[in-house]
Symmetry: C2
């Protein structure tokens, strides 16, 4: 028996989130946040592939692409230019305990939200970025996965509340630069692209993959390697990417400012037009 906010709950109601869902109990699941444009999910094959990879790393059986696609269809008309979200949890488990039982059926939660576009100046002049105090922990078994254990991001995002600062930069315990609280990071120096290695922490987003592939295709060297804040501050350009914002150049970080973003602009243009 269960009581939620003072009212009895039937945990077996299949059309609601169960209090037995391991997504709630342990953050035992993964998710994707996707841009919907013209009634279609942008880069759906990439999103599904990443969802499936993340499920595999946690030994969760990922629902089929066709099933998720079909269920998404009924939502997309609600906000033909919006945000779609998929959460896959390991599912409900009646027996207590951390160890998953093999017969657990994954729960799929699909949602659609309206899109509130970022201010145009974020794209035109770049954003102001701040350094978060929270340092990301090293956990190679979870690094790269967009899983539901996101307390580090929650604590980091709670560090500031100034609308002028669009994003927070997260470093790891070894003082390497890793990512934004909700975006991946790139730096440009002397015509070479750099993005942090995510083998110890961080979320590997699909826009990061797209930038890395674009660079390879267009003969721009992209190095995936650890680097620190000092190196970042001497970069020629910095930019952030994710599936909702696309690409934001960074105009200000600590005492450093940037106003020219030639490489970022090329990539921004490409990300917004190419289909793959």
């Amino acid at each position: 028996m269960h009581i939620v906010n003072g009212k009895p709950v039937n945990p077996m109601l299949a059309d609601q989130i169960s209090v037995y869902d391991r997504g709630l109990l342990y953050g035992d699941g993964v998710f994707r946040t996707m841009r919907v444009s013209g009634g279609h999910i942008l880069h759906w094959p990439r999103h599904y592939q990443k969802l499936r990879q993340d499920c595999t790393r946690l030994n969760i059986t990922c629902p089929g692409a066709a099933l998720l696609s079909e269920e998404l269809q009924s939502l997309l008309q609600q906000h033909v230019n919006g945000i779609a979200k998929i959460i896959i949890t390991r599912g409900q488990q009646i027996t207590r305990g951390y160890r998953p039982t093999p017969d657990t059926v994954p729960t799929r939660i699909l949602s659609i939200f309206p899109l509130y576009p970022s201010p145009e100046t974020f794209y035109a002049q770049g954003i102001k970025l701040r350094v978060c105090q929270l340092r990301l922990a090293h956990q190679p078994q979870l690094a790269g996965i967009k899983h539901l254990n996101r307390l580090e991001n929650v604590l980091a995002a709670a560090e500031w509340n100034d609308a002028e600062i669009a994003e927070g930069l997260m470093l790891d315990m070894a003082d390497n630069v890793i990512e934004g609280t909700r975006s991946n990071l790139f730096a440009v120096r002397a015509g070479i692209l750099y993005t942090p290695s995510l083998v110890n922490c961080g979320v590997a987003g699909i826009q990061r993959d797209r930038v890395i592939e674009w660079a390879a295709k267009h003969g721009l060297t992209c190095k995936i390697e650890p680097f620190g804040l000092t190196e970042l501050l001497t970069a020629d350009e910095i930019f952030l990417v994710n599936s909702l914002i696309g690409l934001w150049p960074v105009r200000e970080l600590q005492t450093k400012t940037w106003s020219q973003f030639p490489v970022s602009r090329k990539i921004q243009e490409w990300l917004s037009h190419e289909d793959n």
Copy 2:
């Protein structure tokens, strides 16, 4: 709009877990698992105090003790000798994003379960313990808190499925011994009690506090400090504690076995009888 397992869900139904609950979305919450005996929760003041401390560290407003007590009363009669669980999440949040909004009202989820007692041999002869491959990450901002980001415990508990092995030992990235997947650990050597420091990772349970306090009260030195597996294996005794199992002596770990548990027995006896 939301679809869960193919069916539309009204996220505003207040008597169900909402798909907007940050406990589900980010593991943004804390919990307690408590032993119910004779229709009462054992060590309720300690459990509530820890719940409140954990909430405070995440900047979640903990519901009052009187409210939770009152709501628990209606559950306790279901299993007068059972297991009660409290989950407090940061609450539902309609706007997207990691940053909590100040007006979010915490969700409280109270549950009761039947108790399946551990085999008597676990108490009488001790348990077999194995070393988990997963290494706990260092995150001082979350260390000690019983929060809902428990993927490390899930992955560690999934490493074995042999009913003969009662618990898994978790080390951290620096190869310090930390805890069991669902219990705290103590070692005895030359009449001195040792328990791992939990400043970088691990969950600080209330039974751990009780043992530490008992030791102080009875003139047994207890050192809270880091130590490794090699040191643990040369201990005179090892035991595990949590609120459901009480105390389990360890009889086997890797190639080492133990059969005498004089200090563990004294503490086991005390834990099972004293009220505070």
